[in-house]
């Protein structure tokens, strides 16, 4: 356990080394947050909407998703694929650790930094300038649990997709498809409540809502009591399922690993 803690700690410190990159990244997230805010305000100004969602809800949701980008809500990581392409992966595989656990620790370390520095500040911009909601302490606490589970689900999915590059020389197409699915069905672009019923049904059986929709709704206080327990249980289900699939895929990959490069 100590080993994985050290890996995460180093990853955290590595992330902390690029301060100006984080500042610029934050500005970019805040810029997109502002754009989406204006879009919601204009839409609500002409009437319409969805039951249970005020303009304030929609705006707060947008700032939450923009904040969650840097902790794995928007884009899949390409690092594992990169090491498979260069052949570097063979070193990581031969070390005395679990390969899945190694990448999980690395990812969580970096994301913790992103949460503390980038996500929180992005949301503060939304609160101060655009009236994004301040959650109750209870919701905030529940959010921390939901967000941690979301980070592991997002990693679990990313790991499986990255591992396809053991079989395909160029997995960037698959990664692209996977990322599109994730972005759409996680509720990153739009709260799932706004989807037509058929698409909502599709989203409800996919793992992606556990990545963005659930933590964001917990933060907004839309999931409390029994519903909260069910939402967290669903996240745990996807954590376990994706981890299991990831480990099986890893074992299959080990059987036929072909290292490129020399």
């Amino acid at each position: 356990m100590r080993l994985y803690y050290e890996i995460a700690r180093r990853s955290f410190r590595r992330a902390a080394a690029y301060r100006s990159a984080y500042l610029f990244g934050l500005l970019t997230n805040a810029f997109f947050g502002a754009l989406i805010t204006y879009m919601w305000r204009a839409l609500y100004a002409s009437g319409g909407g969805v039951a249970g969602w005020t303009v304030e809800d929609a705006v707060s949701y947008a700032w939450t998703t923009q904040s969650l980008i840097s902790i794995g809500g928007g884009w899949l990581g390409y690092e594992i694929m990169g090491t498979i392409k260069t052949g570097e992966v063979v070193t990581d595989l031969s070390r005395p650790w679990n390969f899945w656990g190694y990448w999980l620790s690395r990812t969580l370390g970096e994301r913790l930094y992103n949460l503390l520095m980038r996500a929180s500040l992005t949301y503060v911009v939304g609160m101060v300038l655009f009236g994004a909601r301040i959650p109750t302490p209870g919701d905030a606490l529940a959010f921390l649990v939901a967000m941690t589970l979301a980070a592991v689900v997002s990693f679990g999915f990313s790991f499986i997709v990255n591992l396809t590059s053991f079989w395909l020389v160029d997995a960037s197409g698959i990664m692209g498809f996977a990322n599109i699915l994730m972005m759409f069905f996680s509720g990153f672009l739009l709260p799932l409540a706004f989807f037509p019923p058929a698409l909502q049904a599709v989203a409800s059986v996919l793992p992606f809502q556990a990545i963005t929709s659930i933590p964001a709704q917990v933060w907004l206080g839309k999931v409390e009591g029994d519903a909260l327990v069910r939402a967290l249980a669903l996240q745990v289900f996807w954590v376990v399922t994706l981890a299991a699939v990831g480990l099986v895929v890893l074992r299959q990959a080990m059987r036929k690993v072909v290292i490129q490069g020399g």
């Binding site: 204009a42 002409s46 160029d170 698959i174």
Partner: protein, 265 residues
């Protein structure tokens, strides 16, 4: 020089075509990326009647215009993006400076991403939808103003890529913030400019004039008025605005090349 450009680009395209499966997958991926973007807009319009008085077909016109212009520039001008960053990090720009051709030309000819056509195709499809749903009283002037806006928009987007690359001369890496102007600008002008506050409007009309790719021209074509009182006739100034912006971008580029300090070993 034009012939040389086509020869270099031809070689790039032939190279990309060697990996046919990869090429077509990426083409489709790019089409889907922007496909979900517009799907999002379409879903929103099932829940809301209008965007400050603009219908979905009118928003589709804005979206389609910027999408087509932006995707073509991504195809042509990506040499100023990630490949240039790699070039800077490796100190490979030294080689560019030693060749007897303008550095701007060499970087432009260094990359051509045909797969971006997936996005162009999606933009054209959305434009087709817009034109089929809108009852526009077409005139020669309206066609002209649309074409001018598209052309000018491409020049402005290319200028932005060039400025982004120029920052590399000082920082080696293109800061992510340029994305706010390229991708962000593209997204901002996908919606009518009337929904934003004065500061954002001013920046995207008169400083980084991305909005000229569609908004003034759309006002003319749709015979709409701007809530802030922007006269639609400014649409005719698009080529001038684009020329000034691109001129500035080129000057910045040349200034950057004189400040270039090599990296690498």
């Amino acid at each position: 020089m034009l012939r040389l450009y086509f020869r270099l680009i031809g070689a790039r395209i032939r190279g990309q075509m060697q990996y046919k499966v990869s090429f077509f997958t990426e083409l489709v991926v790019h089409m889907l990326w922007t496909g979900i973007e517009f799907a999002t807009v379409a879903i929103l319009f099932t829940r809301f009647p209008s965007l400050l008085g603009w219908t979905i077909a009118e928003v589709a016109l804005l979206y389609g215009m910027t999408s087509v212009a932006f995707s073509i520039v991504e195809m042509v001008g990506r040499g100023f993006d990630a490949p240039f960053e790699t070039m800077m990090a490796q100190g490979a720009f030294d080689g560019v400076l030693s060749r007897p051709l303008p550095s701007f030309f060499q970087i432009l000819a260094s990359e051509f991403q045909l797969r971006r056509l997936g996005r162009t195709a999606q933009g054209i499809a959305v434009l087709g939808y817009a034109f089929s749903r809108l009852s526009i009283d077409w005139s020669l002037a309206k066609v002209a103003v649309l074409v001018l806006a598209l052309g000018s928009g491409m020049v402005i987007y290319l200028g932005l890529f060039v400025i982004g690359a120029t920052i590399c001369f000082w920082t080696i890496k293109t800061p992510e913030v340029i994305n706010a102007f390229t991708f962000g600008g593209n997204q901002l002008v996908s919606y009518p400019l009337g929904i934003y506050n004065r500061a954002l409007r001013t920046v995207f009309l008169w400083i980084v004039p991305v909005a000229f790719v569609n908004y003034p021209a759309a006002l003319v074509v749709l015979e709409r008025t701007d809530p802030y009182g922007l006269p639609p006739a400014v649409a005719w100034a698009a080529p001038l605005v684009a020329a000034v912006f691109f001129g500035v971008a080129l000057r910045v580029w040349h200034f950057g090349t004189t400040k270039y300090q090599s990296t690498g070993s």
